[in-house]
Amino acid sequence: MHKLPDKMSRGWKRHADAFNDLREYAGKTRPVPAHGYRETVNGTMPPPLLAEALPQFAPLLMTGENPALNITPGYVYGAWHDSAAVDSSTQQTPAADFPEIQAAVVEPKISTTLLTANPPPGISITYPGNTYFFLKLTWKAYRSAVQGSYLEADFNLAPDFPVNTGVDDPDLSGDSHTHPIAATGVASETADPGVQLNIDVINYILSAAVFISQVDQAPPTETEMITYIPAGYISLDDSGEITTFGGDDGWRWFLQGAITAHRPPHFVTGVTTGQDRAEPIAPTAAETYTLPGQATDA
């Protein structure tokens, strides 16, 4: 620590007093070299500014003439399996009832550029009007027979045998008579026997994530392999500035922190021929949803 000069105790009193006052002021107002402040021979160096800690997927919005949205890097967790295919119709060779990784990590992109790229990618915003941002998730699927082969069923069946013959035999006795039939038979198994239910489970794994924007309020229609997460929306006026529309908010952002993406498994028939419809049925368009902050259907 630099040493404060000594007080003047002698000399011309007027000057000595002025000096001592200034000396005391300088001692009291110097930056204390603590909390990252560091003394050098050329002054006290303040600590570097800490990088602002932003949560994952924080929006960085630039309004005005060329409005654009940047999104801080973040990650999406989803299941992973090497053998997953781009559709669920493929019968995978290796049986797998669980993914290889229950929560693998995927970094989203804007278009084809990762959020961590330097410079970061941005989404251009058209104005005036509303823009809705979605995180588009692309899934893959792998298909595996439940129980390794078939679900074997218990059964309790009995054939309905005729109890008596009813034979009119006039050639022998002239009498109508019946012949009893012995004990009722039973249904039983033969080799590779029984009743078997062939069921496949389709497990979904996360393949990719990309941010998109659209001017329609209605969410994009999903498919078996494409889903969308609403990330936020913005309404810009003629100047490219945020404005409300009607009674609705002009700006909301929903994402914060890492995303846990989950697509529950689906059970389908394991019979490969003779199906009367393909399953799972593709999703239909949502019509009665409500976005937070928006009461009207824009």
């Binding site: 630099h2 404060l4 000069p5 000594d6 003047m8 000096f19 200034l22 110097r30 003394e39 021979v41 002054g43 006290t44 160096m45 303040p46 998730l137 078939y150 069923a153 069946l157 013959t165 034979v167 035999d169 022998l172 006795s173 009498d175 008579h177 012949h179 039939i181 038979g185 039973v186 249904a187 039983s188 198994e189 033969t190 026997p193 009743v195 078997q196 239910l197 229609t221 889903t227 969308y228 997460i229 609403p230 929903f254 914060q256 995303i259 529950p264 689906h266 028939t269 019979v271 003779g274 199906q275 009367d276 399953e279 799972p280 049925i281 949502a286 949803y289 976005l291 937070p292 902050g293």
Partner: protein, 309 residues
């Protein structure tokens, strides 16, 4: 950058030396205008503090001896859960339009306190009880959508078609011999022995073979709201009502946050957006099963809460 006064080279030596020492000291200790620090005519201005970062679902507790009605506010946040237009408030209904996947896998919902959204101005608050531990939960209300799966036609709907390999044994090969007055004779049954069972031809049910009717119930999120209770036991869930423990706070008789015996007095678990899922349930597709499924959840009795022994 402000210019440091020059050193004295002339004058009374005692004053010159003192002045020059002070100049050296001031030079060595002056704040360097770097890393956001900025010199002004009134001093060196440090950089502005970054705007306070408020995470979703951060708690704001207003309590203490001078507060008559302690309350907790929660900063706005969002819950993501599935959405489907036709979802019903009970899982027993088979929807007219079949669906196996929700229309939106992860739609966004804003929780409420009471009937007021967290983004409301003024924000809603949950009233806290003093001299008690207040457990705050996020209550999720689900809807259900039920539809047949299987892919094979069956009785105007769909079912799984089972393979089978069955045979009938014990079939009589002949009638017993009987003397009916006209002499001993027997009637042969040509198709005796064992026979495989094949698809039937009965008109009802219409499809031959063995079919297993299975329904898939998938769940979609309907609403989310924060609630509070003083009971330590988690609320009893139902098929369509689940609860996420958000945190707890113990207020003493004065309304101050305090430890509750060995237990912590305050913990908060939520931070950031919430991803809610309710896995689908597979149930019988028959209309009159011997029990209702899924079985309703029972009360949890062995779950631990962080910070509470």
């Amino acid at each position: 950058m402000h210019k440091l006064p020059g050193k004295m080279s002339r004058g009374w030596r005692r004053h010159v030396d003192a002045h020059n020492d002070l100049v050296d000291y001031v030079h060595k200790t002056h704040p360097i205008p770097a890393h956001g620090h900025r010199e002004t005519v009134n001093g060196t201005m440090p950089p502005p503090r970054p705007e306070e970062l408020v995470m979703q679902f951060a708690p704001r507790i207003l309590a203490g001896g001078t507060v008559s009605d302690p309350v907790i506010n929660i900063t706005p946040g969002y819950v993501f859960g599935s959405w489907h237009d036709g979802s019903d408030s009970a899982s027993s209904t088979t929807e007219a339009t079949a669906a196996h996947l929700p229309e939106v896998q992860a739609w966004v919902f804003e929780p409420k306190i009471g009937t007021t959204s967290l983004t409301n101005n003024p924000p809603p608050g949950l009233t806290l009880e003093i001299d008690a531990c207040n457990y705050i939960y996020l209550e999720l209300t689900w809807k259900a959508y039920r539809s047949a799966i299987g892919g094979h036609d069956y009785d105007s709907d769909y079912a799984f078609k089972a393979a089978y390999n069955l045979q009938v044994t014990g079939l009589p090969t002949e009638t017993e011999t009987t003397n009916a007055g006209g002499g001993v004779h027997r009637h042969l049954i040509s198709a005796g022995g064992a026979h495989a069972i094949s698809d039937g031809t009965a008109s009802s049910p219409p499809e031959p073979g063995i079919h297993v009717r299975v329904d898939k119930i998938f769940y979609t999120l309907a609403s989310a709201k924060f609630i509070t209770q003083t009971a330590a036991a988690a609320p009893l869930e139902t098929e369509l009502k689940t609860h996420i423990l958000a945190g707890y706070v113990y207020l003493d008789a004065n309304g101050d946050i305090d430890k509750n015996g060995e237990d912590d007095g305050f913990r908060w678990f939520l931070q950031g957006a919430i991803w809610a899922t309710r896995p689908p349930c597979i149930v019988s597709g028959h209309s009159s099963p011997e029990r209702d499924e899924p079985i309703a959840p029972t009360a949890a009795t062995t779950n631990a809460i962080p910070g509470i022994a």
